[in-house]
Structure formats: C-alpha cells, structure tokens
Amino acid sequence: MPVRLWWDLAAPATQAAGMRRLTVDAATWVRAAEEFAAADAHLLALWVARAPNQEGFLIRAAFVAAGAGLILELPIADCDPPYPGLEPFFPAASRMQRAAYDLWGLRATDPDRRPWLRHAAWPEDQYPLRNPAVMAAGTGISEAYRFVRVAGDGVHEIPVGPVHAGIIEPGHFRFSIVGEKVLRLEEHLGYVHKGIERRFTDFPILEGHRLAARVSGDCAVAYAWAYCQALEGMVGMRVPARADWLRALCLELERIANHLGDLGALGNDAGFAFGLAQFSRLKEHLLRANEAAFGQRYLFDTVVPGGLHADLSQSGAHTLGDFLSRLAPEVESLRDIYDEHGGVRDRFVGAGRVAPELAARLGLIGFAGRASARGLDVRIDFPCAPYTDLALRRVTRTAGDVAARVAVRFDEVQESCRLSLHILKSLPSSVHRVECPPPVQGAFGTGLIEGWRGPIFLALEAGAAGAISRCHPHDPSWQNWPVLEHAIIGNIVPDFPLINKSFNLSYSGHDL
C-alpha cells in the first residue's frame, strides 16, 4: 500500500509538519520499508531509543515521501534476535545500523557487521549510549578495519587520511586503483566521534539548542531550528510570526554563505585560484553583514526556543538588504566566468557523475540529490512556517556530475538571495521571542529543516524535570557519504578532491 495509507494508520507525532509515528512488529517493519522503497520514499534517519518502560529498546526509522512523513518504531528487547535490517531497501541504512550497534549493542540482520563509529575509544563489549556510567576507558588499540580488497593485475591501494595535507576534518579514504583510475573507494569515518548524543542528556532541554547548533558548525541555524521545532512541537506552542520569518532568513543566509565558500573552493580545486579569492571575498562580506545584523558571523545561537535570540534591527536589515541586492549580480557574473572558462568546464563536466537511477537507488538527498533529479526539498515538500507563505522555486538538474552540483548551488544562491530580500521586505512586525515552557516528561518531538546540505532531522525526547532523555540529530551526510564512494568509480585519483568538494559532506555531523 502507498505511503499515504501507512500515514493514515499512524498517530500524529508532535511537530515537524506532517510527521507521524507508527509502532510495528518485525514483519510489518520489513513490509513497510519495502513499500516505501518501492514508492521512492527517502530514508531520513535510523536510530535507537530506550522504550518508555525503560525495559527494552525502540529501533526508529524516519521516512518521507510525497508530503507524508512517517516514523516507524520497532520495539525490541535485549534477548531478541537481530532486528531486520533495512539495507536491502535503503542501502544508506547499513552504516546507521552499524553505528546503532556500536552505541547500543543491538544487531541488525544485515551482513556488514564491522564497527563504524567505534575505533578504540571504548571496548567492543561496551555500548556508550546504553550504559554511559560503566564505560571503561578506551582500549587505545584500534583493531585493523577490514577494507574490501580489490584483486587483479596492477591493482594497488592508496590510503588517504585521516590526517590530511590540508586543514580539514579527519576521515580515511581507501582507494583501490589501477594506474590513476579508481576501481573502488571505501570510506572509514568516525574519527570525530565526540559522544554528542550522550552529551545532550547533560543539558536542560531549554538549553539543548546550543549544543544542537554545534553538531555541524556549518549548519548551525538548521540544527538549532530543527531542535527548537521539536521542542516547540512538544509543548504545542507557536512562535511569533516575526521569529518564523527571521529564522528562515538566517537559514537562507547560512545556505548562501556555505554555497559561496564551496563554489570558491571548487574553483580552487580545479586550479582556478581566482574563483577562491572572489568567492571568499563575497562570503566574508556576507559574514560581516551577518555580524552587523545578528551579532554572529556564523549565526550560532541566533535561533533559540520560543523565537530568536535578538531581533533584527532596522540598520541590520538595511546592511543585509544592501549587501544581498549587490551579491546576486556579482555571483551571476562570477558564474559566467565559471561557465565560460574552458579549463574549469573541462574539470567540472562529467566528473563524479551520479546518474539519477543510481541516486534513486542509493537514496541521495539534499542539494546533491537535486543535482541528480531527486526533487526532495523540505522547504517545499514539508514546509513549516514561513515557507508555507513563500513561493520557493525548486532547483533541479539531471546530469548529476560536478557541473550539475555547481549549477544547483549557483541557482540556490540566487533563489536564497531573492527569498532573503523578500523576507526583509515583508517581515511581519511582532515580538521576536516568547517564553518556551519546559515539556512534560516523556514528550516526543521531531524537527525537520532543509539545511544547505540537505534535510536535517532531529528527534527529541523529554526527561524528568526539564532534562533531555534522548536527542538524535541526523545529518544528510549519512545518506550521501556512501554515494560518494560510487561517484568516484571510474574517475581518476586527482579528480577526487574536486568531486568530494562538490558534495562537501560533514564529518562532524556524521560522526556525532
């Protein structure tokens, strides 16, 4: 049956427009996943939580398809056999399940049982989220990770990272190559596992947005908003209209800043340093305008429960408006340079192609998905206020190569500029913040916000006395990292940095 019917069966989960929750048994879990996959639904997240009775656990998986969002809950006890894995229907589920095992000790039936987030920080028989108190100290010994070996005449491996020649986040990439051609890439992540999910439980629930904003610093607004959306949904409050509009403004500013930074870096990776200099200049001006308007260059802690940390002043709005109206034409002229430069085109076109069929099968998501004909944009498909009132144009491409991702980024910068200027012009006048009361114990809420990289999903459960009992932030990088392994196949080794940058996935948001 179509997703819609499953949705009708389910009970409304508070908040994240249109998101519902359904408790299932193992057989229904598999059947539902299979039907969702057939209906071209997206897997948003898969995580484990403690059952309300504190006895067993719940495996939760969130899906979205065509205006319907659904969270499946599979109750499971410790003594149960492994729960049915979703990898056959949603390949991206594999790493989420492996991470869930590392943190909770609950096994899925899928074949890949290598550790994912656990390196050497805790012993194999300890599960940090299940029992943080008895966590033994790290073993210090990292057992060799079993990479898939490629055999053949002249095939050899290049190990890259986790320490790189430049200052970037750590991740290990194992290339199997013949000559310069990549036969296989395997990623090994988890080097920045910080225990964010555990750390959340130390925070009062009204303060958790500060940590959420720092899950992946380039999505500070998106994470903080997702957190606040979940929290405000639990207590059933609505923030003032002005706060909604200002949050959307911040989100679009964050999107513009990140796209500008990456467009410059993409030029640089193609050896076109002029692009880096120009886009860096524009990004820096935007960050300064952010500071003038909100007192924060990267908009950390701007979005808070109940509204916004501080109102946008008249002068701040002017600074932003002035800058944004100058930004759009400047970006357009730089786009012409990128489009007409033979050398840059040669590097971009055809590199790292993810064909639409492959993107659909692997569940590519976010702007990278939109460059491979995957249309999902949470701002359009699951609009929360104020996106319900903003006529946002969907940006898609079908080529799925670096050039397509660059084109989507350029288009989104323009669209976000247009949107931001519109928001600045028609900002409702009201207070920017109201008090947010703490939710009752056991309340459950979800947030779903389209960050610049893709949909950011956050599930929040309230504990006793205004504490957080469980918070699971989910970055779209979980879905897209595995796709990168496919995007590089058949390309040459020196093109990898360019292809990687065209996705620019988060390590921190993924490793948690």
Binding site: I158, G267, F274, A277, G343, P494, D495, P497
Partner: protein
C-alpha cells in the same frame, strides 16, 4: 680575459642561487595581485628557507641513504645547470664541458634522483608523485630537446653561449621558427616546473599533487634544499628562455666588466617581465586533468617541430 671569464662564471652561479627565491617570490606576488589578494612579501621564499634550515629534520625510519643525499644531488645539479646557462655573459669556462644537450641531461638527473627519493620511503603519495613526474618528464624532454635543436640549427652549434652569441650578434631579424619554439618552450617550462596548468604549487590536496607529493616526506634542511632547488630550476628555465629567445643585453664575447655590470639590471628586467607573464598565465588557466598533460606536452612538441620545419623550409 681569463679573470673576467672566471668572474662571469662565479657571478652567474651566485646570482642564480641567490636570486632564485626572489624570482619565485615575485611570481607569487604577481599571482596574489592578479587574484585580488593581498600579496606576501617578495622575500617570503627566503623566510621559508631560513625557517626550514632552523628546524630539526625528521626522516622516515625505513628510508635509505638515497633519501638523505637526494636533496644535495638535486640542489647540486641545479647549481651546475645555472653555471652553464649564459644568463649574463657568454664567456663561461664551464660550458666547454657541457652543451645544451648535457644541460637537459643534468635536469633529467635531478628528476631521476628526486623520483627515486620520493619512492624510497615507500609511501603511496611519494610513489604517486614520482610516477606522475616521470610521465610529465618523459613527455617534456623531447619537446625541450626539439626547442634546443631549432636554435642549434640556426646557429650551427649546441653550445648555449654560442647560440646566444650568434643570436645577439646577428642583425636583429625575425625568426618565425623561434616564435614557434618560444611557445613550445613556455609550455615545457610550465610543465617542468610544476606550474598551472600541469601542477598546482599552492595546493594542499595530496591526491592532486605532482611535485609536492614527492616532497611530502621531507622536512627541515632537506626540504629547504628541495624548495630552493625548485626555485633554482624555475630560474634556470627562465634563463634558458632568455638565452634562446631574448639574448639581447648579455655580455657577449670578450666583453669588458662594465658590459657585465650592465647585464645584471637587464637580467632583472627580463625576470620581472617573465615572472609577471608567468603569473598571468597561471591566473587565467585552470589545472588540467592529469590525463590532459600528454595532450598539453604533445602540443608543445608539435610547436617545436613546426619551428623546426619552418626553419628547414624557409631557412628562417
């Protein structure tokens, strides 16, 4: 006469070794200006070299003596090359022993040692860089030789000072064949010195590196020598270009010391112009895919052959 020749020889070596980092600094400064960045000081390469000489060297445990001696061999080869390129005067005692073809051989020796040293420590990146360097090298050398042959045919000698002398003392005439070979030479220069569009000297992406990948395991004084040798190589290539295509202003023949003194500012002007030209080329181009390098260097070879044909057919 003998004293002046020795003086010229000594001056050439000293100027080349001392001014090479400055030339690199100038190119970097021009690049920064063209990209609308605020530029580092032209003296920055000297500071880098000084900094590196003051550090303790770290050497990979499984590397052999080759790894340690390679920087000295490479630096020595580049210094020797500087000695036989007529950058300021043509009466160079050393050139009796080495002509232009020996010069190409000298540059190749440096390359071989660098590649061997890169593979010596057994890391994936060193091997990757060495492999790519050898690919670029074996494509660039024929083009470079062809460039030299055209100039040699015009002046009926393979000795670089004699070529320069011949070209300066001839009445200034246009050699269409040299125009073609000058294009070829510029392309070879870009490829051989790890400049855009073949390699990116400013990159931090280990997977895309060629020259830098070979140096990843080097530190301190070894790295300083390698960096210095790279700057010297670029300087040498510029001077080969001047000797072949812009020989005017050097102290030709048994010139008096004052002609030699005049040659220094002339060389400086040429380097300033060449540096800004290089920076311009690098700013407007993007880096080529590695597999486009053969096309690039085949084009260079083709230009050199065109120059040769033009010379043979038109006698010009």
């Amino acid at each position: 006469m003998n004293v002046i020749a020795l003086l010229t020889q000594g001056l050439e070596i000293i100027v080349a070794v001392a001014a090479a980092p400055l030339f690199l600094g100038w190119i970097n400064q021009c690049r920064a200006w063209l990209q609308n960045r605020s530029a580092p000081s032209v003296l920055q390469p000297y500071r880098t070299i000084q900094k590196l000489f003051n550090k303790d060297a770290v050497i990979a445990a499984n590397s052999s003596a080759l790894f340690r001696v390679a920087p000295y061999i490479v630096f020595g080869a580049m210094t020797l090359a500087a000695a036989i390129i007529p950058s300021m005067g043509t009466r160079l005692p050393f050139t009796a022993a080495a002509d232009a073809i020996a010069l190409v051989g000298l540059l190749a020796t440096a390359r071989v040692f660098m590649a061997l040293a890169a593979m010596d420590s057994g890391t994936a990146f060193g091997t990757l860089g060495a492999r790519r360097e050898m690919m670029v090298g074996f494509l660039a050398e024929p083009a470079l030789l062809m460039v030299i042959f055209v100039a040699s045919l015009i002046s009926a000698t393979t000795s670089l000072p004699a070529i320069s002398e011949h070209l300066t003392t001839e009445a200034i005439g246009l050699y269409p064949s040299l125009a073609f070979t000058a294009v070829a030479f510029t392309m070879v220069l870009l490829a051989e010195n790890g400049r855009i569009p073949i390699d990116n000297p400013a990159t931090h992406l280990e997977l895309t590196m060629i020259h830098e990948a070979m140096l990843l395991e080097y530190s301190a004084r070894h790295l300083a020598l390698m960096e210095w040798a790279a700057a010297l190589k670029l300087f040498n290539y510029a001077c080969i270009g001047f000797a072949l295509f812009l020989p005017w202003g050097i102290a030709a023949g048994a010139a008096a010391p004052n002609a030699l003194l005049l040659a220094i500012p002339v060389l400086a002007v040429k380097l300033v112009l060449a540096g800004s030209g290089l920076a311009l080329i690098e700013t407007v181009s993007a880096k080529l895919r590695v597999f486009r390098a053969p096309e690039f260097l085949a084009t260079a070879f083709l230009f050199a052959v065109l120059g040769l044909l033009v010379h043979l057919l038109l006698g010009a």
